[in-house]
C-alpha cells in the first residue's frame, strides 16, 4: 500500500451484477482521510452493495482499494483498520455486554477495553445484560460503544439507525459527534435519511440506480448549486436559465440550478444554497429526466 496517498477508499470502475440486474455500474469515487462522507441514495440505489464491497463481504468487478487493501481477499486484515456497523440488528442476541467487550479485547488489536467501558458507563446498560433483553436503542448504544472503542482508520456506518425512533437516532449521532468525531476521523455513512446526517458531512456522494450522480464536498456545493424561490410572474424568466428541478410551494416555485449565472439569477429573487436534503430530492427526481 502507498502511505503517500491520503485516500482511504479508492474505487475505479466498481461494478456488481446480480444476474441481469446491475447494482453498481462502473462507479468511481475516493474517500480521503479526515472526511465524513455520506453515501446517499434511495432504497435499491446500490448503497448497500457498495458498502458490502468496501467491507469485503461480497464479490465485485473493477478496482477497489480500502486502506490500501483488496477488501474481499484481505477482509480479516482490513478489519484491523476498518470498523463498521451494518445494521442495528446484527449483535448476536445471546451475547452479554461484558462478553462482547471481552471478545473484542481478545481478538481485536485496536480495541481499547477501558474506552468501551467508559462509553458504556454513560448509558444505563448493565454489563451482565444480554443483547436480546435490550431495547433497539440500547442495542445501538452497545454497538456504537464497542465500535468507537476501536482505533480504526475508517469507520463505516451502513444505515446505522434504521428502525430506531427519533430519540434513539438523535442519541446515536450525538454520541458519534461528542465521543468520536474529530478532524482525524474518517467516516463513510450510508443512509436514505439525509436530514439526520447533513450536519456531520464534509462530502456527499449521491448514488442512483448504480451510478454516482453527484460527488462533491459540502463547501463546494455552494459554488455549484443554487436555488431560487420565484413568484409566478418571474417563473418563465427563471425557467430560461435552465433549472434542473422545480419544486412548487404555496405561492412560490423553487428552482434549482447547477453552475448558474448568479448575476442573472440575482434579479429574479433571493438566491440560497440548497440543503443537502433538498438537493438530494432535486437531483434524484430532476436528474432522472
Amino acid at each position: 500500500m502507498s502511505q503517500s496517498t491520503s485516500a482511504l477508499i479508492e474505487a475505479r470502475g466498481l461494478t456488481k451484477k446480480y444476474g441481469e440486474h446491475v447494482a453498481l455500474d462502473h462507479v468511481n469515487f475516493t474517500v480521503e482521510r479526515g472526511r465524513v462522507v455520506g453515501l446517499i441514495g434511495p432504497n435499491g440505489a446500490g448503497k448497500t452493495t457498495a458498502m458490502r464491497a468496501i467491507l469485503g463481504l461480497t464479490t465485485y468487478e473493477g478496482d477497489l482499494r480500502v486502506v490500501g487493501r483488496e477488501p474481499l481477499r484481505e477482509r480479516a486484515k482490513l478489519m484491523i483498520d476498518v470498523a463498521f456497523i451494518a445494521d442495528v440488528a446484527v449483535l448476536p442476541q445471546w451475547l452479554r455486554v461484558d462478553q462482547a467487550v471481552d471478545f473484542l479485547a481478545g481478538v481485536h488489536p485496536r480495541f481499547r477495553r477501558e474506552r468501551a467501558l467508559g462509553l458504556l458507563a454513560k448509558t444505563r446498560i448493565a454489563h451482565k445484560q444480554r443483547i436480546r433483553d435490550l431495547s433497539k436503542g440500547m442495542k445501538t448504544q452497545v454497538h456504537l460503544a464497542l465500535t468507537m472503542a476501536i482505533d480504526a482508520r475508517l469507520l463505516v456506518l451502513d444505515e446505522p439507525t434504521v428502525g430506531l425512533d427519533l430519540i434513539a437516532r438523535r442519541g446515536f449521532y450525538d454520541a458519534l459527534v461528542n465521543d468520536y468525531l474529530d478532524e482525524t476521523r474518517t467516516i463513510l455513512i450510508t443512509t436514505h435519511q439525509v436530514e439526520e446526517v447533513e450536519k456531520l458531512l464534509t462530502d456527499i456522494l449521491f448514488i442512483d440506480r448504480g451510478r454516482i450522480v453527484l460527488d462533491s464536498s459540502v463547501e463546494r456545493l455552494a459554488g455549484t448549486f443554487a436555488a431560487i424561490a420565484v413568484s409566478a410572474e418571474q417563473l418563465d424568466a427563471a425557467r430560461s436559465e435552465k433549472p434542473f428541478f422545480e419544486q412548487r410551494t404555496p405561492g412560490k416555485t423553487v428552482l434549482y440550478f447547477e453552475h448558474p449565472d448568479l448575476s442573472r439569477l440575482a434579479s429574479l429573487g433571493q438566491i440560497h444554497t440548497p440543503s443537502v436534503a433538498d438537493l438530494f430530492v432535486a437531483k434524484l427526481t430532476g436528474g432522472a429526466r
Partner: protein
C-alpha cells in the same frame, strides 16, 4: 492462537447446552444411583463384581456418547446457518477474524471440544456413581469399581474414541457445515436430500449402488474400522481385562477409507470457508 481460544470460548457462550446437556445426564444418573433400587445379589464372585463394574461404566459411557453424537450433529447443521439467519454474521465479519479461523473453530468445537466436555462429564459421573454404589451396596461390590487399571482403560478408551471419531466423521461434519453455510433454508433437508438424490441418480443412470454404499459405510462403518470386531470369535474380553486389545489403530490408520474420508473432509471444509467468505447473508 488467542483468537482461536476466544472463538471457542464464544461457542460456549452461545451454546450453553454444551455443558447443560451433559450435566443434566450426570445429575439424572447420579440421582438414579442415589435413590434407585440397588440389588446386586446376582453378583456373587469377585470376578463377577469386577466385570459388573466395568460394564456399568461402559453403559454410562455409551449413554454419553449417544447424546453427544446427536448434539454434535445438530450443532454442525446449525452453526453457520444461525449466524446468517439472525444477521450476526455481519458483526463477526466486522472483526479481524478470518473465515478460515471462524470455520475451523466451529469444526474443532464439534469434533474435539464437545467430545472432551462429554468425556469430562462422563468421568466425573462414573466416579461419583462408583463411589455411591460402593457405599450403598457395601461389601457386595466393594472394590469392583476401584481398579486403577479399569480407570486408566476408561480414559484411554475415551481418548481413542475422540480421536478416531474425529478423523472418521470429518467428511460428515464438513458436509453438514457446508450445507449450513450454503442453504437459504431447510438445512437438515438439504443435508439429507443431496446424498439421497446422488444415490438414486447413480442407481437410476449407472445401475450402481456405490454412492449409497459409501455413504452407509461412512455412517455405520466406524466401529468395524477402529476396533477389532470379528463375527467369528465374538468374545468380549474379560473386564477389567484388556479393553485396549480391542483397539485397532493400525488397521484404522492404514485403511484407505480413513484417508479418503479425510481428503473429502478437507475439500468440503475449503468449500465451506469459501462460501462463508463470499456471502454474508441469507
Amino acid at each position: 492462537m488467542s483468537t482461536f481460544f476466544w472463538l471457542i470460548r464464544r461457542e460456549f457462550w452461545e451454546n450453553r447446552a454444551f455443558w447443560l446437556v451433559p450435566s443434566s445426564i450426570s445429575v439424572l444418573l447420579i440421582l438414579a444411583a442415589l435413590f434407585g433400587r440397588v440389588d446386586l445379589r446376582i453378583v456373587t464372585s469377585a470376578a463377577q463384581t469386577t466385570a459388573f463394574g466395568g460394564m456399568l461404566l461402559g453403559v454410562f459411557g455409551v449413554a454419553f456418547l449417544l447424546v453427544m453424537s446427536l448434539y454434535s450433529t445438530w450443532y454442525l447443521v446449525d452453526c453457520l446457518y444461525a449466524e446468517r439467519r439472525d444477521g450476526s454474521i455481519l458483526f463477526w465479519k466486522s472483526l479481524p477474524v478470518t473465515d478460515t479461523a471462524a470455520v475451523l473453530a466451529k469444526l474443532a468445537t464439534a469434533l474435539i471440544v464437545i467430545p472432551l466436555v462429554y468425556f469430562i462429564a462422563a468421568d466425573i459421573t462414573t466416579l461419583l456413581i462408583a463411589f455411591i454404589l460402593s457405599l450403598r451396596a457395601g461389601a457386595l461390590v466393594e472394590g469392583s469399581f476401584w481398579h486403577a487399571d479399569l480407570w486408566l482403560q476408561l480414559q484411554v478408551t475415551w481418548l481413542y474414541l475422540i480421536i478416531t471419531i474425529a478423523i472418521w466423521y470429518l467428511p460428515v461434519a464438513a458436509w453438514l457445515m457446508l450445507i449450513s453455510a450454503w442453504a437459504k433454508r431447510s438445512v437438515t433437508l438439504w443435508a439429507l436430500l443431496v446424498p439421497l438424490a446422488a444415490h438414486w441418480a447413480a442407481r437410476a443412470f449407472f445401475g450402481t449402488n456405490v454412492i449409497g454404499n459409501q455413504i452407509m459405510d461412512r455412517l455405520v462403518g466406524f466401529a468395524a474400522r477402529a476396533f477389532h470386531l470379528r463375527a467369528d470369535g465374538a468374545r468380549w474380553p474379560e473386564l477389567p481385562g484388556n479393553v485396549a486389545g480391542l483397539f485397532n489403530p493400525g488397521g484404522f490408520l492404514t485403511s484407505p477409507a480413513t484417508w479418503i474420508g479425510v481428503a473429502v473432509g478437507i475439500a468440503l471444509i475449503l468449500c465451506t470457508i469459501r462460501i462463508r467468505s463470499r456471502s454474508a447473508e441469507i
